[in-house]
Structure formats: structure tokens, C-alpha cells
């Protein structure tokens, strides 16, 4: 099998980058972007304890209504996300949902809107080292369905659409009209890496749930406290979706 990396650990058995062992995590994983985002997400579980902190990867593990769930930061960008997916696969991960933010680019979409990634444009470099660009970044259908169901239970109806993930945040607004015309919904930095590499490694069911923090097309954005509440709602939906996928 080509896509099978070596398990790279420290002498004490902890994974090289994530700094955790197999018994530190549950098979159901929420992936916020940075360590700052992990603690509020972990607080949504019934119980959670810190199990690791290494580089940009902060790990909390606990449970929600009896389902074991870990919250682990993916780091910023497709490079650390790629490492996270590889090492989490070695540790027995099965269901993973990225919980993040992005920038909407279609007209009339209000900041605060929730987006589920059905697919993603591979506008980054990490996945190109794995396989050529002709291979599509597509989310798992059971993961999409679980998020839609969970969102409905919270009275939310996310847009299920196409993301564009890329590497250069300070070039974010470059080519927005081009991608808007081609029906891309949301720009983020990690989703195509999550989808593509999970698909190549097999046995992982993954998707992203992101909150639009702004709209590049009309220049609107929302206050941090409002955004925080929307991320909290998204976090509850993602946890319930993992619960559905695990059952």
C-alpha cells in the first residue's frame, strides 16, 4: 500500500508531532485550528481532560453522552493539518470534523452563516506532494449527512458547498471574483488537506464545519463575541455529528 507512513514516535511512545499516544485519544475527533480554540470546544463535552501539548497540537479527550471524543488543534494551514491526519490515523482515528472559520465569497451570504464542506478546491501545496491535482478533495457522505442532521436538531441549516483551501493568508483576496464565478462558497486554509489525505489513507470519515467570519464580496464581518457564539453553536453541532457517526 503506497499511502502508509511509518509511525514516528519519541522514545516514550508519544507521536513525533502530536506528542500523544493511542490511549490519549478517542476515535472521534474535533479539529479546531489553534490551541486557543481547543479549550472552549472541549468545554462543550460532558467531561474532558488535557492529554497532550506539543508544538501547535493541544489535545483534550473526554466524552459526550457516552461517546468518546477528542478535541485536537490542527495548527494553521495544510501542512500541520496533513501531519495531524497522518499521526491521528496511526492512533486509531475514525471520524474527524474540522471546526473552524472561513471567508464567504458569494453575494448576500451573511457572516455567521455555517458551511459544510462537500468538496474543496486544492489551492495549496501539501496535497500536491501526495497526488496530482486531478484527484478531487471530496468529503465523506456519512459525515456530511451527520452534520446536516445534527444542525437540524439545533435549528440550523448550513450551506453545503465547495470550499477553497490555500496557503497564503495575506493573499486571501486574490482571485476572489474568479472563484466566486466558479461557485466556490468559502475560503479556508485546511479543508482540502483534511479531505484529500484522509481519502488517500482510507478508513477515515471526515468533513469540515466552518463559520463565515466575513464576506469578501460585500466587505461585511461580525464582532468577535458574536463569532464566538456562532463557533460555539458549530461546536455543539459537530460534537453531536460525531456522536451520530460513532453510533
Amino acid at each position: 500500500m503506497k499511502y502508509k507512513s511509518m509511525k514516528l514516535t519519541h522514545t516514550d511512545g508519544r507521536m513525533h508531532h502530536l506528542g500523544i499516544r493511542r490511549d490519549d485519544i478517542a476515535p472521534n475527533i474535533l479539529l479546531p485550528q489553534t490551541a486557543d480554540d481547543v479549550i472552549p470546544a472541549a468545554a462543550l463535552l460532558d467531561d474532558a481532560e488535557k492529554r497532550g501539548e506539543w508544538r501547535e497540537y493541544l489535545t483534550y479527550t473526554g466524552s459526550w453522552k457516552g461517546t468518546g471524543i477528542s478535541v485536537i488543534s490542527s495548527g494553521m494551514g495544510c501542512m500541520p493539518m496533513a501531519i495531524a491526519v497522518e499521526e491521528l490515523k496511526h492512533l486509531g482515528a475514525r471520524n474527524m470534523i474540522r471546526l473552524g472559520t472561513g471567508s464567504a465569497i458569494q453575494e448576500g451570504i451573511k457572516p455567521g452563516t455555517l458551511f459544510i464542506s462537500a468538496s474543496a478546491v486544492r489551492g495549496e501545496g501539501a496535497t500536491l506532494e501526495y497526488i496530482n491535482y486531478r484527484y478531487p478533495a471530496v468529503a465523506d457522505i456519512t459525515a456530511i449527512n451527520a452534520l446536516i442532521q445534527a444542525a437540524g436538531e439545533y435549528g440550523e441549516k448550513p450551506i453545503v458547498g465547495m470550499f477553497l483551501s490555500h496557503d497564503a493568508v495575506y493573499l486571501n483576496k486574490k482571485d476572489v471574483p474568479f472563484w466566486r464565478e466558479r461557485k466556490v462558497d468559502l475560503i479556508d486554509s485546511e479543508t482540502s488537506s483534511l479531505l484529500t489525505i484522509s481519502s488517500l489513507l482510507r478508513g477515515l470519515r471526515v468533513v469540515s464545519l466552518c463559520v463565515a467570519s466575513e464576506n469578501y464580496t460585500d466587505g461585511t464581518s461580525i464582532e468577535d463575541d458574536v463569532l464566538g457564539k456562532r463557533i460555539e453553536t458549530a461546536g455543539r453541532i459537530a460534537i453531536r455529528a460525531l456522536h451520530i457517526m460513532a453510533s
Binding site: 474543496a120 478546491v121 478531487p136 461557485k183
Partner: protein, 259 residues
């Protein structure tokens, strides 16, 4: 329309797209009512009803070019759902001949989609179509394989009867867990996304293409085991069409429900 010869109201909002020109009439035979609208170039069109659901079938001809013409013209005719029904060869060797394979997306191994969007743009089937096809399979007691296709342009480069070097070409797609190879799904899904038409594909697996190379004196059935028994193969293609027709009913009902 200039290629398909169709005009407004000739097709329903739900349309099946086989590649084989002769298969349009066969598939129309599974509708409850069907009328032959016309045949122009590779586009043989029938429109009628399956139960109360308005439905059409139009052949596209083979390849990305043909199906792109079909989609370009259908977008002007009010089409909302388009499902390709066809055949393909198994890239993974463990999928039994005759198995139905539902596309979640496709590797863009063809040239047509490159003229439309950059190569990093994903060819992804609409998740509602994937769900409807899975549900329709369940209703018929089918156990489909659900996963990625590879679509390509040169039959005699990537088939059991290919020129030398087949395994070198196919190994990356075997490794990447691609399920089936055919010709049209990648550009179908991309144009569906660009045009706001919900698209997907279901195909019958003819048999594995990478288990052993064909020999000069092999019969077709040795190359594609699903063809060994002609009646069996016809039955599988019929099941594929019936599943797609049922999926259209599910999709159409949900659309009326406000989706």
C-alpha cells in the same frame, strides 16, 4: 438547441444520461410513459413519467466532449437533476463484476474539464444525488460500492486491452482507492456545480481491469467478466437504470419539499 435538437419543454427537469446511444430507448422502456422526442447526432431523447415524476433520458455519446455539450444545452432547458447511468471497469480488483458503483467524485483524467476550470478544482458529485442513489439501491436490495471514479479520454491507453504500460499508469489510482474507470463523470460533476444542476453517476462494474492483462485471443467476456452471460449483463444494466429512475423520484420529491 444546435447539437441536441431539443427545445423548451422537450425534456423533464430530471434526466438520465447514458453514454450508449442505443440505451436511451431501453431505459425509456422502464418509464411508465415515454415518447421519443428526437435523435440528433449522439443525442437520442425520450421524455415521459415514472409514476408521477416527470423524467427524460438522453444519450450523450462517449467522452467528456459529448457530455459537456449535453450539459451546456440542458442548462437552458430547465434541467435540475442529471444522473449518468453507464458501465465502467473496476480499478480495484476486489469489486465483483456486475456490482453497482456510485460516484462521490472523480479524478479529472480528461481534457474537457481543463478548459473550464483549473486542475485543482474538485469534480464532486452532488451529495443529495449520492444519498438518493444509495437509498434507491437499498430499496432494490442492492449493495453498491460508493467512492471515487477516474474519468479519462483514451480508451486504448487505460483498459485491459491497452498499449504497454497500463500498470504504471493505473498504480497511482489503485493506491488512491479509486473504484471505477469511465469517461464522463468528472466533467459532468463540474458542469453540474457550475450550472446549478445536481449531478451524479451510477455504473455497472464490468470487471477488474488491473488483475491481469488481456491476451490477443481473449473473448470480450474474458476481458470483462460481467459480459460472460449476456442476460445477466442486461439485467445488471436494467437494475442500474431502475435504481437511477427511483433516485430521481426521491430527488424530485425532496425538491418539491422546499429544497
Amino acid at each position: 438547441m444546435s447539437y441536441t435538437g431539443l427545445k423548451k419543454d422537450d425534456v423533464a427537469r430530471n434526466i438520465l444520461l447514458p453514454g450508449d446511444v442505443g440505451r436511451s430507448k431501453t431505459i425509456a422502456g422502464y418509464f411508465d410513459t415515454a415518447a421519443h422526442i428526437g435523435t440528433k447526432k449522439t443525442f437520442a431523447t425520450y421524455t415521459g413519467k415514472a409514476g408521477e415524476t416527470p423524467i427524460s433520458v438522453m444519450s450523450t455519446g462517449m467522452g467528456g466532449m459529448c457530455i459537456s455539450i449535453a450539459m451546456e444545452e440542458l442548462k437552458h432547458l430547465g434541467v435540475k437533476h442529471a444522473i449518468r447511468v453507464g458501465t465502467g471497469a473496476g480499478v480495484q480488483t476486489d469489486i465483483a463484476p456486475g456490482t453497482l458503483v456510485i460516484a462521490t467524485g472523480a479524478v479529472r483524467g480528461e481534457g474537457t474539464s481543463m478548459e473550464y476550470v483549473p486542475v485543482e478544482y474538485p469534480a464532486a458529485a452532488d451529495y443529495r444525488v449520492v444519498n438518493a442513489l444509495i437509498k434507491a439501491c437499498e430499496e432494490y436490495g442492492e449493495e453498491p460500492v460508493v467512492g471515487l471514479y477516474r474519468a479519462h479520454d483514451a480508451f486504448y491507453i487505460e483498459t485491459k486491452c491497452a498499449h504497454e504500460g497500463l500498470m504504471e499508469r493505473m498504480q497511482p489510482w489503485i493506491d488512491a482507492d479509486v473504484k471505477l474507470i469511465e469517461n464522463e463523470t468528472s466533467i459532468l460533476c463540474i458542469l453540474g456545480h457550475l450550472f446549478g444542476i445536481r449531478t451524479g453517476t451510477i455504473c455497472v462494474n464490468l470487471g477488474p481491469m488491473c488483475d491481469k492483462p488481456a491476451r490477443e485471443d481473449d473473448e470480450m467476456s474474458k476481458i470483462y467478466p460481467a459480459l460472460l452471460d449476456e442476460e445477466y449483463f442486461k439485467g445488471r444494466v436494467a437494475m442500474c437504470a431502475k435504481v437511477a429512475i427511483r433516485a430521481m423520484q426521491i430527488l424530485d420529491a425532496n425538491m418539491d419539499g422546499g429544497e
